[in-house]
Symmetry: C2
Subunit: 360 residues, 2 copies
Amino acid sequence: MERTYNFSAGPAMLPREVLEQARDELLNWHDCGLSVMEMTHRGKDFSAIIAQAEADLRELLGVPANYKVLFLQGGATMQFAQIPLNLLAGRSADYLVTGAWSKKAFKEAQKVGSARLVATTEASNFTRLPAASELEFDPDAAYLHVCSNETVHGVEIHDLSAFRTSATIVADMSSHILSRPVDIGQYGLIYGGAQKNIGPAGLTLVIVREDLLGRAPTNLPTMLDYAVQAEHGSMLNTPPTYSIYVAGLVFQWLKKQGGLAAMEQTNIAKAKLLYQAIDNSGLYHNPVEPACRSRMNVPFTLNKPGLEELFVAEAKKQNIVSIKGHKMVGGMRASIYNAMPPQGVQALVDFMQDFERRHG
Amino acid sequence: MERTYNFSAGPAMLPREVLEQARDELLNWHDCGLSVMEMTHRGKDFSAIIAQAEADLRELLGVPANYKVLFLQGGATMQFAQIPLNLLAGRSADYLVTGAWSKKAFKEAQKVGSARLVATTEASNFTRLPAASELEFDPDAAYLHVCSNETVHGVEIHDLSAFRTSATIVADMSSHILSRPVDIGQYGLIYGGAQKNIGPAGLTLVIVREDLLGRAPTNLPTMLDYAVQAEHGSMLNTPPTYSIYVAGLVFQWLKKQGGLAAMEQTNIAKAKLLYQAIDNSGLYHNPVEPACRSRMNVPFTLNKPGLEELFVAEAKKQNIVSIKGHKMVGGMRASIYNAMPPQGVQALVDFMQDFERRHG
């Protein structure tokens, strides 16, 4: 059986060991005679699974004791509304717009509450981060929202201190969470859809500082109230049990790889290999300023017209799939999350160089 | 490897053939070199999976062309808010309360909008359905909400015509959808969490008549707007892809069983076997009026005190698990959804009779 190198931005590649374990225990988890999919979420087996997943995640990310870990549903897009609904409490929030996803988050916050723009780099096609001189903070903002890795535009905030204000920072980390160590204490709330670096789609992770809970209006749907979800250990109703189980397997896999410091070194090396291949070529081009290039999502265009379809087709013959770029940006995009092995990036680089020799 | 008879109310048993197929293609779906968990939802492979799932579901349920099928997240509890938020449009809705779940739905509707009670059978401990004389309909109601099968209390509406009004009917079918043919045209909207009769937890099915779309207020979170979800084919953002895939396998399994008319016959026979065993015993008791007993969820108590723990422990030795009742009702509960084979119900009945002989 031949597996591929899958460069999809999400749902994305999962570690082979994780999939093999999920397969091996699919009909009968730990000899309990049930699939994890069939287990009541109120029983001791699933309670052990979710508790272990949370403990491993807390260990990996160094989550301080005064933060709640929530396993929710609806993806980052649900959070775009849920965050202002829970945290605004009648105030306004600041939004930094550095790509397609933070732009969507800003728009949704304006729909359900009050939000203002700190800065946007849209005029530069989201190829850079704003300079300090461009930032206009509201000193009374309920929070500052950032997307610390923009999946479509390939822009990553490597140093949050450039954007620090007195406001609580809320960060969409969907596409780079668990790819590097992070100081959770710098944030009031971080969140992410699972389907990039955590596990299967349908699970949304929220880590929130306890003092931010309990500010929701009384008419907020109960499912969307962080305080209620925290009180019920993410089990106000049936959570996405199987996705939580697979995420738990990913967390254990990450611990075996040496944790997030080790992952970061691997991810730096993978990104460096790919960006160097792009920068040293005459055919490929990445438009993002080097200081804020994403380690996870690497968009690149081909300088010669008419080659894109051929690139995708020939890549597929080398078992390189889901390499086509987002329609907003065009060209190609290689998403190289934790589960993409260095050999996968090497295979892509080898193919790109060979393709350039033949068609460049 | 020994599998169990799992009487959990949900997440619940899945057909063995479905689990085996999921296992066999877990690392490599249809030789595409990817797990379904890893596939982009925008690609042709997943598009085929979700299209086939919807087509099979439409065929099974006979969904008319003027209804949209939505694959959402958040469970029935999210729907408890999402329904009034989408459908009230400034009006009030009628709620029929016949058990724990319709009571919760009513409470949530009051939280996010305006709702009034048509009737409640709480004074009878939810062991019956209200008589026609007890019903007080609001002629201007935006809709009438019913829970057509109460999972905790084991009460099922077998004949909707007793509750028909001029209002659009909205039904929570979480725990009996796909267990019997249903005339979708009688309803404006039906919904259900997947984890009982559809597939893994984390997927919520909504089937809604098109004329009910587009009534949402402008500040509704985009993810909660049925019209937007319908317009995007349930893919406004990444849907719970793997759960949709497994649900699709369940739909194909149901078709192989002969569809819902055949399932209904099997389910009638399974329920009859179990209720007769209860009614003919001196030890077991089901409090629900026979005319509205659920074919899916069979709660029963033991007339002799102090035996419950022993019952559960001895059942487990016979591979009968998750038989303990909901804390609201006490005693035992056997959930006998589509995936519970008649042999499982027979095994339970045999055990119950043997247990009564020894301890009754």
